[in-house]
C-alpha cells in the first residue's frame, strides 16, 4: 500500500508539472500549425534497410509491386495516378505519415503498423508470401550485411516488418514553412505568407491544423452545399481530413482522384466546405502557401 501511495504522489507531481509547462509559451504555440522535426537519434542502418525493403518487389505476390509502387518517394510519396487498379482509393503521401492520427482515407487503420500489416496481407495490394520472401531475401547477398548491422543478421517476417515500419515511422521531412514557423521570416515568399493568412481567415485551418496540417479529424465534403463532383459522380462520405503537407506534389486530389489541379481543388474546397468564392489572386496565394508545405526532399536520398 505504501508503494501505491508513492505512485499516487509521483502522479500528482507529474500532473502539476504538466500544468505548469502549459503556461510556457513557444514561438509557434499560438499558431494552428506546429512545426515538425526530423527524427532524432535515427538508427541509420535500420532506416536504410527499411528503405531498401520499401522498394523491394519480392514482398509482393507476383514480384511486381513494392510499397514504393504506390508511394513513390520521388513523387512526393504518392503515385500521380487517379486510382490504381485493384485499389479503392487514391494513394496519399507516405511522407510524415506517422504524424497522422488516422491512417487510410476512411481512417480504418489505427496506426502505421496496422496499415502496413493490412496492406502486406491484402492479396489485392501486396499479398506477401512470407516464406518465399524470407527465402529470397536470405539468398540475396546485398541484404545480408544490412540485416547483420540492423538485426544481428536475423532475417525473418518480424525483422522485415519492423524495418519497413521503422523507415515509414521516421520518414519525416520538414518543409520551408516549418522554418518560417521556427522564426525564419525569409523562408517563404510574401505571397505564401498572404496565402497563410487567407488560409486562416477563410477557415481552412478549422480542419487542416496540427503538426500535419490535417490528418487528425474526420469531415465529409459538402458541408455548405452537397458536392457531386465535376462529373456528378462524386459520393460524399465522412473521410479523414488529409494532411496538406506535400499536397502540391500529390495531384490528383480527393479520395477518388477526381480533381486534377490544385487550383480547382482550392476553389472546390472553399465553395463546398466554407461557402466562399475566392478570387484568382487568393487562390494563387493559398497555392503558394500550400507549396511552401512541400517536404524538402533531396532527390538523391530517395531515388
Amino acid at each position: 500500500m505504501i508503494l501505491f501511495a508513492k505512485q499516487l504522489c509521483s502522479k500528482s507531481l507529474a500532473l502539476i508539472f504538466i500544468l505548469i509547462s502549459f503556461g510556457v509559451h513557444n514561438s509557434w504555440a499560438n499558431e494552428p500549425i506546429s512545426p515538425i522535426f526530423p527524427a532524432e537519434n535515427l538508427d541509420q542502418d535500420k532506416f536504410e534497410l527499411g528503405k531498401a525493403l520499401f522498394k523491394d518487389t519480392r514482398l509482393s505476390l507476383n514480384n511486381d509491386t513494392s510499397c514504393h509502387t504506390c508511394h513513390d518517394l520521388s513523387m512526393g510519396g504518392g503515385d500521380k495516378l487517379k486510382i490504381r487498379e485493384n485499389v479503392a482509393t487514391n494513394s496519399p503521401t507516405i511522407f510524415n505519415t506517422s504524424k497522422n492520427f488516422h491512417v487510410g482515407w476512411r481512417g480504418q487503420f489505427e496506426s502505421l503498423g496496422h496499415h502496413l500489416g493490412g496492406v502486406l496481407a491484402n492479396p489485392k495490394v501486396m499479398g506477401t508470401n512470407w516464406p518465399r520472401a524470407v527465402t529470397s531475401l536470405k539468398a540475396d547477398t546485398s541484404f545480408t550485411p544490412k540485416f547483420r548491422k540492423a538485426y544481428q543478421g536475423e532475417i525473418s517476417q518480424e525483422t522485415i516488418f519492423d524495418a519497413i515500419l521503422y523507415f515509414e515511422t521516421n520518414l519525416i521531412v520538414p518543409s520551408k514553412f516549418d522554418e518560417y514557423l521556427l522564426g525564419n521570416e525569409q523562408a517563404i515568399s510574401q505571397t505564401a505568407k498572404y496565402g497563410y493568412e487567407k488560409f486562416k481567415d477563410y477557415g481552412c485551418i478549422s480542419c487542416h491544423q496540427g503538426a500535419n496540417v490535417g490528418g487528425n479529424l474526420f469531415q465529409s465534403l459538402g458541408v455548405v452545399a452537397p458536392y457531386m463532383g465535376e462529373d456528378g459522380k462524386y459520393r460524399a462520405k465522412k473521410l479523414r481530413v488529409p494532411s496538406l503537407r506535400n499536397v502540391a506534389l500529390t495531384a490528383p486530389y480527393l479520395h477518388d482522384g477526381s480533381v486534377d489541379s490544385l487550383e480547382s481543388m482550392i476553389r472546390i474546397m472553399a465553395q463546398y466546405q466554407l461557402g466562399q468564392t475566392l478570387t484568382n489572386t487568393e487562390i494563387r496565394q493559398i497555392k503558394a502557401f500550400l507549396e511552401s508545405l512541400n517536404s524538402q526532399i533531396e532527390p538523391a536520398a530517395y531515388e
Binding site: L3, F4, Q7, L8, K11, L15, N30, E31, P32, S34, K99, F101, G107, K200, G203, I205, S206, C207, Q209, G210, A211, N212, N216, L217, F218, Q219, S220, V223, V224, K238, L274, G275, Q276
Partner: protein, 446 residues
C-alpha cells in the same frame, strides 16, 4: 520398551511428518498471485489519469482561438493504449472485473467514435461563427441605407447571439423575426439566403455537438473506472486475507513438523543411549541379546534380599545344551550361533514376564524364576521349556535336534548365598546329564 510399541511409534511419527509436509505443499500450491492485482491497480490509476487528460484536452479545444486537434487525439490514443494494457494485465483476475473490462472497452470505443463526430462538428461550428461575423459585417457596410434589410441583418445578428449562447448550453428565448425577404432585390435575396443557410448550418452543428458532448462525457464511464478500482482493491484485500490465513496455517504445520522431528530425534537418541549404555555396561550378550554372567551376579543378591523380605521363593534354572559341540563340529559355528539365538527366542516365549534369562557361558543359560509359590511351578516351567526345545530347529534348510539338561536350585530352601545357589543348580544339571540327559533335576542333598 515393548517390542510392538517401538515400530508403532516410528510409523506414527513418520506419518505425522509426511502429513505435515503434504499439508504445507497443498496450501502453498493454492496461493494466488497478488502481484498481478497490484499491477492492475497501478494501471487503473494510469488509466484514470489518461482519462482525465483526455477530458482536459477536450475542454481545452474551446479555450483556444485555433484549436489543435493533435493534442486531443494524442490524449485519446494514450488512453486507448493504457486501456489495452490494463485489459491485458487483468486478464488473469477472476470475478466481475472481466465484465467491467469488456464494458469499459465498449464505452471507450464509443467515446472515441463520438469524439471524432464531435470534432468534425465543432470545426464547422467555430468556422461558421467566424464566417457569419465577417459576412454580416460586410452586408451592414453595403446596405447601410436600406432600413428594411438592416432589420433582417439585426435579426440575423441576434440569431448568432442565440447560437453563441446555445453553444454554451444556454437556451435564450426565440423571438419572431424577419424570415422572409419580399421587397429584396436579387443581390439582397442572395445574401439573405446565404445568411439563412449558414445560420441553419450553425444551429444543426451546435445541437449535434452538444448531443455528442453529452454522449461522450458518459457518467457511466467514470463510474466504471471507480468501480474497477473498488473491485481490484476488494480482490486484493481478499487475496491478502487468504494469504494471511494460509501463512498462519503454514506456521502451525511447520511448528508441528519441527516438534515431531525433534521428538523423533530425541526418541532415536534415547534408544541409542539405552543400547549403548547396555553395551558399555557389558551386561548383555551380543549374540543373543540376553543378560550375561556379570548381570546375573549383579542381580542375584538384590533379588534374594527382595524375596527374603516377601517370603517367596526364587528358583534358578541352570540349562545346558546336550551335544552342542557336536552340532558346531558337524554344521559349523554359524549354525551353532544361529541355534543359540533361536533357543534364546524360545526361552523368551515360554518364561513369564517377570522372569529373567541369562547366557552365562558358551551353551549354558540361567533362568531366574521369581515370586514362586512352590517348587512345582518351577519344575513345570522347566519341563515346558524342555518339551518346546526338543522340537527340531530349521536352520538354513538344515534340521537340528537338540536336547537340554536342566538343574534347579531354590532360594531360600537350598541355600542363602548366590554362589551356592548357582553351584547347586549346576550340580543338579550334571546329575541330569549323568542320568541320561534331556531331563530336569532338582538339587537335593545326597
Amino acid at each position: 520398551m515393548n517390542k510392538i510399541k517401538l515400530p508403532l511409534i516410528f510409523v506414527l511419527l513418520s506419518l505425522a511428518i509426511m502429513l505435515a509436509i503434504y499439508g504445507t505443499y497443498n496450501r502453498y500450491s493454492d496461493l494466488k498471485d497478488t502481484m498481478g492485482i497490484q499491477n492492475s491497480i497501478f494501471q487503473v490509476v494510469e488509466l484514470r489519469s489518461a482519462d482525465a487528460k483526455w477530458n482536459f484536452e477536450l475542454n481545452r479545444i474551446h479555450s483556444n482561438n485555433f484549436p489543435h486537434y493533435d493534442l486531443v487525439n494524442q490524449a485519446a490514443k494514450n488512453y486507448q493504449t493504457e486501456l489495452q494494457l490494463f485489459l491485458q494485465m487483468s486478464s488473469n483476475i477472476q470475478g466481475p472485473l472481466q465484465n467491467i473490462g469488456v464494458e469499459l472497452n465498449r464505452l471507450s470505443k464509443d467515446k472515441q467514435r463520438l469524439m471524432n463526430d464531435y470534432l468534425s462538428d465543432i470545426a464547422i461550428t467555430r468556422n461558421s461563427f467566424k464566417f457569419l461575423d465577417t459576412l454580416l459585417f460586410s452586408l451592414h457596410e453595403t446596405y447601410q441605407d436600406d432600413d428594411e434589410f438592416l432589420k433582417f441583418l439585426a435579426y440575423a445578428q441576434y440569431q448568432v447571439s442565440i447560437y453563441v449562447a446555445l453553444n454554451q448550453n444556454i437556451q435564450l428565448k426565440q423571438h419572431k423575426g424577419y424570415d422572409s425577404c419580399d421587397q429584396c432585390d436579387m443581390d439582397q435575396k442572395k445574401a439573405f439566403n446565404k445568411v439563412n443557410l449558414h445560420l441553419g448550418l450553425l444551429k444543426d452543428k451546435i445541437l449535434l455537438s452538444n448531443q455528442a458532448k453529452d454522449d461522450f462525457y458518459n457518467p457511466e464511464h467514470t463510474l466504471l473506472l471507480t468501480l474497477l478500482l473498488d473491485e481490484l482493491s476488494m480482490a486484493y484485500i481478499e487475496t491478502e486475507a487468504e494469504h494471511k490465513t494460509i501463512q498462519s496455517q503454514i506456521l502451525i504445520i511447520t511448528t508441528i513438523l519441527v516438534i515431531t522431528v525433534l521428538a523423533l530425534l530425541g526418541f532415536l537418541y534415547w534408544i541409542y543411549r539405552t543400547i549403548e549404555g547396555h553395551r558399555r555396561a557389558g551386561i548383555t550378550d551380543p549374540l543373543t541379546g540376553l543378560y550375561n554372567r556379570k548381570k546375573l551376579f549383579e542381580n542375584l543378591q538384590p533379588l534374594m534380599d527382595l524375596h527374603h523380605k516377601s517370603g517367596k521363593n526364587l528358583a534358578l534354572l541352570f540349562i545346558d545344551l546336550d551335544g552342542f559341540k557336536q552340532i558346531n563340529d558337524t554344521h559349523g559355528h554359524d549354525i551353532g550361533d544361529k541355534l543359540l539365538q533361536r533357543i534364546s527366542a524360545r526361552f523368551n516365549q515360554h518364561v513369564r514376564k517377570q522372569d529373567c534369562i541369562y547366557r552365562i557361558g558358551g551353551d549354558e543359560f540361567v533362568i531366574l524364576i521369581k515370586e514362586l509359590e512352590a517348587l512345582d511351578i518351577a519344575e513345570a516351567i522347566a519341563k515346558e521349556i524342555l518339551t518346546k526345545c526338543s522340537r527340531s530347529f530349521k536352520l538354513d534348510d538344515k534340521l537340528c535336534d537338540i536336547t537340554l539338561s536342566i538343574g534347579i536350585s531354590l532360594f531360600p530352601d537350598h541355600t542363602q548365598t548366590p554362589k551356592q545357589l548357582i553351584r547347586y543348580a549346576d550340580e543338579a544339571m550334571y546329575q541330569a546329564k549323568s542320568h541320561g540327559k534331556n531331563q530336569v533335576k532338582t538339587w537335593s542333598e545326597s
